[in-house]
């Protein structure tokens, strides 16, 4: 029997990096203790990113150019899912053009969702491959330490039995209703208890219990651990735990607090993805996820790991960054300030759900058409071929275009139209191999953007219907250099 494990890895951290000093500068008048958090930067979703869009990007990175029909399940872990009742993992699956014979599942309600979801996926994957993604887009109340400590990001792992890059040696969970923080129904933000109590009574007691139980089950010793992942933003906690557990000091993985922030329920998976991008064959990796108990997971990397690195990964994402120093923009993107964007934004944004369903392949999956008569690629797919020299009726086959690179043919930066991040960049993109579309650009680097710039498509929020709590998704073009993905 082949071993279950992680067969591929992908990651996505948003390009925007909010400078913590600017958050502190705006808030320290009310809480001078925040000055202690002023170093470094935190990742920050663009206005059109959420846990679903980040999960899609991480999953695309994970699946690469490989075949997708082997995936039999999509599980999504997050405490910041855009829909409370519409399966978010289902949106991810649709955006990835996965087959309909697929199980989907959202895992939520705890910072442990990432690791609990991963254990669950690994158990399920003994039978058939699971695409497991974890993503978090955390909103925090103005002037809280959480606003400074948190980050946004996602990671995805393909788990199965097909030549893993890291085999799963075992897992253990302890469940204890330890409420270090919570977010109640109908409440926007987290409510936290004192950090020293969380450290001493929470991390330092509960994590060792889970890790100890795990090592009682596996054929490894804690001293064998080469990488120890515990996504604790509290200072010194990972090192203290390593010492308590007998794990060697150099095994403690950096929690990326300086350059990314704590991506919540996704963070253990983000850190695991990063570790797998860097690990060599034969390494032992221990992952602990904390939250109303603790999950502990143990992996061992195989010799496949060096040949199956992701195209971008967490490290590739971290390398592509745009400094953001405007705290008001950060608040606005996170909707923690009620900002006026003009009367043009007042138009009704209702989504006709029947229209969305009918066009879901086009809108969510970015499926165009390819004429079987003349070979012309076109978007949207249409009854009559768009090629002026063809015009054939009903000759088009579905043609997936999300991974087709393109180039900017025309564009503008529109300061008049409604946008949550004016000016709105949009223009004509021509896809390599045919097809074109007037489309939004996002993550624009104003200095280098011009006609001829290469772009790739990313799944983003096109519009928020705040009145009805809905959001429309569609694909936007991102400069290849800003996407972090391989050209």
């Amino acid at each position: 029997m082949s071993k279950t494990g992680i067969t591929a890895v992908g990651g996505y951290i948003p390009r925007l990096r909010m400078q913590r000093a600017k958050i502190v500068e705006a808030n320290a008048w009310a809480n001078s203790a925040l000055k202690g958090y002023a170093k470094g930067e935190r990742s920050m979703c663009n206005w059109d990113e959420d846990s679903v869009t980040m999960a899609v990007e991480a999953a695309r990175d994970c699946l690469g150019n490989g075949p997708r029909d082997a995936v039999t399940a999509v599980h999504l872990a997050s405490t910041t899912l855009p829909f409370a009742d519409r399966q978010n993992a289902g949106i991810v699956a649709e955006a990835l053009n996965l087959p309909e014979n697929l199980s989907t599942l959202d895992i939520t309600s705890s910072q442990r969702a990432g690791t609990s979801g991963l254990i669950n996926a690994l158990n399920a994957a003994a039978n058939s491959p699971v695409l497991f993604a974890a993503a978090e887009h955390r909103r925090s109340q103005n002037g809280t330490p959480q606003e400074l400590l948190a980050g946004d990001g996602a990671a995805a792992l393909l788990v199965g039995t097909d030549d893993p890059i890291a085999t799963f040696l075992g897992g253990h969970t302890v469940s204890i209703d330890f409420v270090d923080h919570y977010r109640g129904q109908h409440h926007e933000f987290d409510y936290d208890w004192e950090e020293r109590w969380i450290r001493d009574e929470g991390y330092m007691k509960i994590v060792p219990e889970a890790v100890g139980a795990l090592f009682a089950k596996v054929d490894k010793e804690v001293t064998d651990v080469d990488r120890f992942i515990i996504p604790a933003a509290l200072r010194g906690v990972p090192a203290m735990l390593a010492k308590r557990l007998g794990i060697k000091d150099e095994a403690v993985c950096d929690v990326l607090q300086g350059i990314c922030g704590d991506t919540g329920a996704a963070h253990a998976v983000v850190l695991l993805a990063k570790a797998l991008e860097e690990a060599t064959p034969g390494e032992t990796i221990l992952v602990a996820g904390f939250g109303q108990g603790c999950d502990a997971l143990l992996f061992e990397t195989t010799d496949k790991i060096t040949s199956r690195r992701p195209g971008r990964g967490i490290n590739g994402s971290l390398a592509v960054r745009a400094v953001e120093e405007n705290y008001n923009k950060f608040q606005s993107f996170n909707q923690t300030v009620d900002k006026d964007f003009g009367k043009r934004g007042e138009v009704d944004k209702q989504t006709a759900l029947s229209t969305l369903y009918r066009n879901r392949k086009m809108l969510t999956g970015f499926i165009g058409g390819k004429c079987t008569k003349c070979g012309t690629v076109q978007f949207p797919k249409s009854r009559y071929c768009v090629n002026p020299n063809c015009g054939a009726l009903d000759t088009q086959e579905d043609h997936a275009m999300a991974d087709t690179p393109g180039k900017v043919n025309t564009y503008t930066a529109d300061s008049l139209t409604f946008s949550l991040d004016p000016p709105a960049y949009f223009g004509m993109v021509q896809f390599d191999g045919g097809g074109r579309l007037m489309v939004d650009f996002t993550d624009v680097d104003r200095d280098s953007f011009d006609i001829g710039v290469p772009v790739r498509m990313q799944f983003r929020v096109r519009e928020y219907d705040d009145e009805r709590g809905f959001r429309k998704y569609f694909w936007k073009a991102v400069q290849t250099a800003s996407s972090g993905a391989e050209a």
């Binding site: 009367k343 043009r344 043919n409 139209t417 949009f426 074109r436 579309l437």
Partner: protein, 401 residues
């Protein structure tokens, strides 16, 4: 075999309201203002009008759908009234309906009236419009300047024109139109502007600045048409007749097929070619006395000079900067001030352009009267460069029996 519209229909009378921010006026007031001038000019009674076409483009403000608003405003005697909408070509479409009705013999006298009340939105620029349920799910939030700015990028890409050179030529388009509009009491904007002022204006949608944009106004314009024979029998001596009416509508190939490079308007080229054939024009730059083209934005007018064959491809920048289209140039363009100075109450604009051609051809243009104009061309372009409606109309002195 179709014989075309040339000289089959004459303009019996025209009228045009004052354009501008008409805070004082309901749409009905604007309609009546244009119509009162028009019917007086025509010299007929209201009950002699047998059919009417109303053009309005934007439902969200203005008068709402159907032909009813025109019938009510003018208290028309229960005749057929048809409302038309075809983007910025709406006014020309109303005219086309009336002209075709007369040419077919279905009626003797027909009215075309276009009206738009834009200034009740609470903000500057065109009102937001619905775009269709499916389109709104994936189209960018494109504003009018935003989509027409694409032309500048496309033109730059096709001809390798320097950004600053193109921006200067665009500015000259506006400087010229403002100079003309300053002589027109019906224009919304009646002040000349300098090149520096245009170049220094805030950017609306790169590279389009504030002065590259036409105004946003309220207004109405109207035409009453009949056959030349009937016009003569009603005592008209100098007649202006319709020489060509052509329309071309994108079929989505520019938006969806890579054969279009984004540097020109495909529909305008098609409509112009057909219009010249219909009007019997072989060399437009020599034979056309003057034009009123769709200068929603300066870049649009600039590339339209090429699309109409008034400039060679790639030569419009030089021709514009050389003053070819100035009031004293070879082919004056926007002699009334254009959309630039009139603003663009969408349903009215096509008829407002024809009003200037008619006025010039009859020698009634006072301070801005051109010397001996014989053929005038009007052009509308609505929608987006990559998906649009374009109309080309040609009117001229009637030289029939």
């Amino acid at each position: 075999m179709a014989s075309g519209i040339r000289d089959k229909v004459a303009i019996l009378g025209m009228g045009c309201s004052k354009f501008g921010e008409r805070w004082d006026a309901e749409p009905f007031d604007l309609m009546v203002e244009a119509f009162a001038e028009c019917i007086e000019d025509a010299g007929i009674e209201k009950d002699e009008i047998q059919a009417a076409w109303l053009s309005t483009a934007i439902d969200s403000v203005n008068v709402g759908p159907s032909g009813v608003p025109l019938a009510v405003a003018l208290r028309l005697p229960f005749i057929p009234v048809t409302r038309v909408e075809n983007f910025c070509a709406s006014g020309t479409e109303a005219f086309r309906g009336a002209v075709y009705a007369v040419a077919s013999g279905a009626c003797d006298i027909a009215l075309a009236l276009g009206c738009e009340k834009l200034k009740d939105t609470g903000y500057g620029g065109l009102p937001q419009r619905t775009r269709g349920v499916t389109n709104s799910m994936y189209w960018p939030n494109l504003s009018a300047p935003g989509v027409f700015a694409q032309l500048a990028a496309g033109y730059r890409g096709a001809y390798g024109v320097d950004r600053d050179e193109l921006k200067r030529a665009m500015a000259q388009v506006s400087v010229k139109s403002h100079a003309n509009g300053a002589k027109n009491p019906k224009a919304h904007l009646q002040r000349p502007v300098t090149m520096d002022k245009v170049l220094g204006a805030p950017i609306v949608a790169e590279p389009i600045g504030l002065f590259d944009c036409c105004g946003v106004s309220d207004g109405a314009a109207a035409a009453i048409v009949c056959t030349p024979e009937l016009a003569k029998s009603l005592g008209k001596q100098d007649l202006v007749s319709v020489k060509a009416l052509q329309l071309s509508v994108s079929n989505g190939s520019e938006a969806g097929h890579n054969s279009w490079d984004g540097s020109h308007i495909k529909t305008t080229r098609i409509a112009a070619k057909k219009a010249y054939e219909e009007a019997g024009i072989r060399n437009p730059r020599e034979e056309i006395s003057m034009t009123e083209v769709h200068d929603c934005f300066s870049i649009t007018e600039l590339i339209t000079m090429e699309d109409l064959g008034l400039s060679q491809e790639g030569a419009a920048v030089k021709d514009v900067l050389d003053g070819v289209f100035d009031a004293d140039g070879e082919v004056p363009c926007q002699i009334d001030g254009g959309l630039k100075c009139f603003g663009h109450p969408i349903g009215a604009s096509g008829l407002r352009m024809l009003y200037e051609m008619y006025t010039q051809l009859l020698g009634r243009a006072d301070e801005r009267q051109l010397a001996d104009p014989r053929i005038g061309l009007t052009h509308n372009l609505g929608g987006f460069p990559h998906m649009n409606v374009s109309s080309v109309s040609i009117v001229g002195r009637y030289e029939g029996a």
